[in-house]
């Protein structure tokens, strides 16, 4: 065990810091230069960010060089994520491509698919969205009804997908579609790559409770894609989906602690200025306990990340224990959001109050945290997965 970063890694961290100083305006992400709130502007910034990162040789750090990656390791990925979070760098608009589709293609894709899709993905030239959930297939994803039928050399796709982030910006969508209605429900699903810019695809924004439209509903009405745009075998999509789910639940935590840490620091600043019945909240023993519980949990998330990196250095992917990390951070973030509301207190309901110091970040964190325990598998589903697949407890009749 040696938790220190090597000299090379520390040098890489310096390189990332220089990069961030160079490309971000001074005071970026603070009240001095707040993060854009307008969705259109956000998208432009995000797209620009993808290309900037790529141009500086920082996209696909751990991905093979032959597909446009940097051929480095997960450690560099972590360092990059940590530094970006610390600098409050823009989110990018191709997170689904980079976090989910790319890693899946690298493991499950054909050589042609890798050569075709990964370089433009990394360059920010092709943006991806994810076509999984349907109105009646949420936790029970395998009951999806979007269907794909082979028509000569093309798949014809019909159905409705929801919660597709970035669909309005995306060039491609990775879609789960039913290709064999007669098979058991997990056996007749295929994983397809579908171009978004065609007549059969309609994207409609889905306004969420924050008042913003981060998600979309995507309707496929006889949309088409080439026959070869299948990842894995036909009717083997459920296995691919599970691979990708474990990426979604696991590797996306790496570096995430730095993001929560920034929120924590913002919140602690608010607590120094906010007052309660015992004076400044930051001096109140009740709140100090809650702050230290959270601080500990955020640190532990960092340690979990180290564990994941160590594991990824020897094995190339994570097992069902990845469910654990998604459960961990989403429930922890919910508590952070609740603490934020308590810290802001009487001023809580008012984004114009203390929280304005942080550009309303604490309110957004609070509201978003309520979605995090639902999306990418609810906490209840994660617990089932842990209990059954990690701990070996018996299934109870569910398929």
């Amino acid at each position: 065990m040696d938790i220190r970063f090597s000299a090379e890694h520390e040098a890489f961290r310096e390189r990332v810091r220089s990069f961030l100083t160079e490309v971000l305006p001074e005071g970026w992400g603070t009240s001095k230069h707040p993060y854009p709130r307008n969705p259109q502007e956000q998208a432009e910034v995000g797209l620009c960010w993808e290309r900037t990162v790529y141009a500086h040789g920082l996209a696909g750090l751990s991905w093979p060089k032959e597909y446009g990656g940097q051929g480095l390791t997960w450690v560099e990925e972590v360092i990059f994520s940590e530094e970006c979070a610390r600098a409050n760098a823009p989110a990018g608009v191709n997170g689904l491509g980079k976090g989910l589709l790319g890693p899946t293609l690298l493991v499950e894709g054909t050589e042609d698919q890798k050569r075709r899709f990964i370089p433009p993905l990394l360059a920010g030239d092709e943006i991806w969205c994810q076509g999984y959930s349907e109105p009646n297939a949420g936790s029970d994803l395998a009951s999806l009804t979007t269907r794909a039928v082979l028509d000569g050399d093309e798949w014809v796709i019909t159905g409705q997908k929801i919660w597709t982030s970035y669909a309005h910006l995306a060039d491609w969508c990775f879609v789960l579609a039913r290709t064999d209605a007669s098979a058991p429900k997990h056996r007749g699903i295929t994983f397809l790559l579908v171009p978004m810019h065609q007549v059969g695809v309609t994207v409609e924004p889905l306004v969420q409770l924050t008042g913003e439209a981060h998600f979309n509903s995507v309707t496929f009405n006889e949309a088409r894609t080439a026959r070869e745009n299948v990842v894995g075998a036909v009717n083997d999509g459920w296995r691919i989906a599970n691979t990708i789910l474990s990426f979604e639940r696991g590797t996306t935590i790496v570096g995430r602690h730095a993001h929560y840490r920034r929120e924590f620091d913002t919140l602690l600043d608010a607590a120094r200025q906010s007052r309660g019945e015992n004076g400044p909240i930051a001096d109140d023993a009740h709140y100090r306990q809650r702050f230290m519980e959270l601080w500990s949990e955020i640190e532990i998330l960092r340690f979990h990340g180290y564990q994941v990196i160590t594991q990824l250095q020897t094995k190339s992917r994570l097992g069902p224990e990845a469910s654990m990390l998604k459960l961990y951070y989403s429930e922890m973030h919910k508590r952070l959001g609740e603490l934020a509301m308590d810290v802001l207190g009487g001023a809580m309901p008012f984004a114009g109050g203390l929280d304005s110091l942080a550009g309303g970040d604490l309110h957004r964190a609070f509201l978003w945290s309520r979605a995090e325990t639902i999306f990418a598998g609810t906490s209840e589903i994660q617990k089932n997965v842990i209990a059954e697949r990690v701990l070996g407890l018996p299934k109870d009749g569910r398929p």
Binding site: S139, Q208, G345
Partner: protein, 382 residues
């Protein structure tokens, strides 16, 4: 020993709930997110016609002598129907003016409020994050009282015809309550952005506002303490209504939403969350009932139990509305779902007039330290 509401009290409730469901509900609540305080104007006449506004007043002022206990279920209905109206403030203002105001004050304001001609509100916040009496000073100039200062968290200020605020007079060295008329010079209203967009709040700035001698209520500290106590009991009851309504919707939903070949309500995780929430709801209900009774009776333990009820119901409503989102799943995260309306209202109520931790610290001063605040009873016993 009778711990149940009477048939008459349930009749008042049923009729209030009927009206509020018809005239308000999630639909009007959504309108309020867009339109702001103006929606209160659509409601005030209907609430007045049904005798809800000023219902606590004596007949002379258009009321029907409803006690806080009689009225408690009306606040519950307001929560259930997500009423975008300053109902607690209206009740508190009429109660305070009838008890502490002189004849002139009562004649001037009470019939207008009961008739729905004037919407009253209260400037709750002292600008320091608390709900004490500070923030406004009065100065005598050329024989007139001039007010200077700032108060925050004034609900529906934009449509209010009367704002009750505490103020401090250096001349008499004490606190009084001032009755302000928005629209007169020296009074500015600045809207605050609210998490619960259907319950607009504002800050109030006073810069030489000329107060009529008549528009003063004394003793201010005592009346203000009573105002807060009544409001805490009312908000606790509203939080109960919010939570029970969204809980009902959630139960309905999990009985019909199918995943894995059957309704999700058959899963133990869902059942146990529902059972926990139900227990919290029913516990808040009895806490509120006890608080409403002691406050209504003028019992010296009223302030203590109003705090208990508000802290408990506030926490409960946060939890129950949060679980409602979780149990609805993704759909609850859309703007079109009503669930978030209850969620945001509950979280706003829970912080209004003090965090639960603040209220419990106030209780601790009495229960742990044996210190009594003004207006608190000394007869705490089993």
């Amino acid at each position: 020993m009778d711990f149940s509401y009477s048939d008459e009290q349930f009749m008042v409730y049923d009729s209030a709930l009927g009206l509020m469901r018809r005239e308000a509900g999630p639909g009007l609540c959504r309108d309020a997110y867009r339109e702001g305080a103006g929606v209160a104007r659509r409601l005030v006449g209907k609430l007045a016609d049904q005798g809800i506004l000023g219902g606590n007043l004596s007949e002379a002022y258009g009321g029907s002598h409803l006690t806080l206990l009689d009225y408690a279920l009306v606040f519950e209905a307001a929560g259930q129907a997500l009423l975008p109206f300053p109902l607690a403030e209206s009740y508190v203002v009429t109660a305070i003016l009838e008890s502490w105001g002189d004849n002139q004050v009562r004649e001037r304001w009470l019939p207008a409020i009961a008739a729905g001609k004037t919407i009253p509100t209260i400037a709750w916040g002292d600008g320091q994050g608390g709900f004490e009496t500070g923030g406004v000073q009065s100065v005598k100039r050329q024989g007139r009282i001039r007010l200077f200062g700032r108060r925050t968290f004034v609900p529906f200020a934009e449509v209010a015809g009367l704002v009750l605020t505490p103020a401090y007079s250096t001349e008499i060295g004490g606190v009084f309550l001032a009755l302000l008329e928005p629209g007169r010079p020296g009074l500015a209203i600045e809207p605050l952005q609210s998490l619960d967009g259907s319950y607009p709040m504002a800050a109030l700035s006073l810069d030489g506002y000329a107060l009529d001698e008549a528009d003063v209520v004394r003793p201010g500290a005592e009346a203000w303490q009573r105002a807060r106590t009544i409001a805490l009991a009312a908000l606790a009851q509203e939080a109960l209504g919010v939570a029970e309504e969204v809980f009902r919707l959630t139960l309905e939903y999990v009985k019909v939403r199918e995943q894995f070949g059957g309704p999700v309500g058959r899963f133990q995780a869902v059942k146990h969350a529902a059972a926990d929430d139900y227990l919290l709801l029913e516990s808040a209900r009895v806490a509120n009932r006890y608080a409403a009774w002691t406050v209504s009776e003028g019992d010296s333990d009223g302030p203590l139990y109003a705090k208990l009820a508000k802290a408990y119901a506030g926490d409960m409503a946060r939890r129950v509305t949060g679980d409602a989102i979780q149990l609805h799943g993704g759909i609850a995260f859309t703007w079109d779902s009503d669930v978030h309306l209850y969620f945001k209202r509950a979280w706003r109520l829970a912080s209004q007039l003090g965090r639960s931790t603040d209220l419990r610290e106030q209780m601790a001063r009495r229960i742990i330290d044996g210190r009594f605040e003004e207006g608190d009873g000394h007869g705490y016993s089993l």
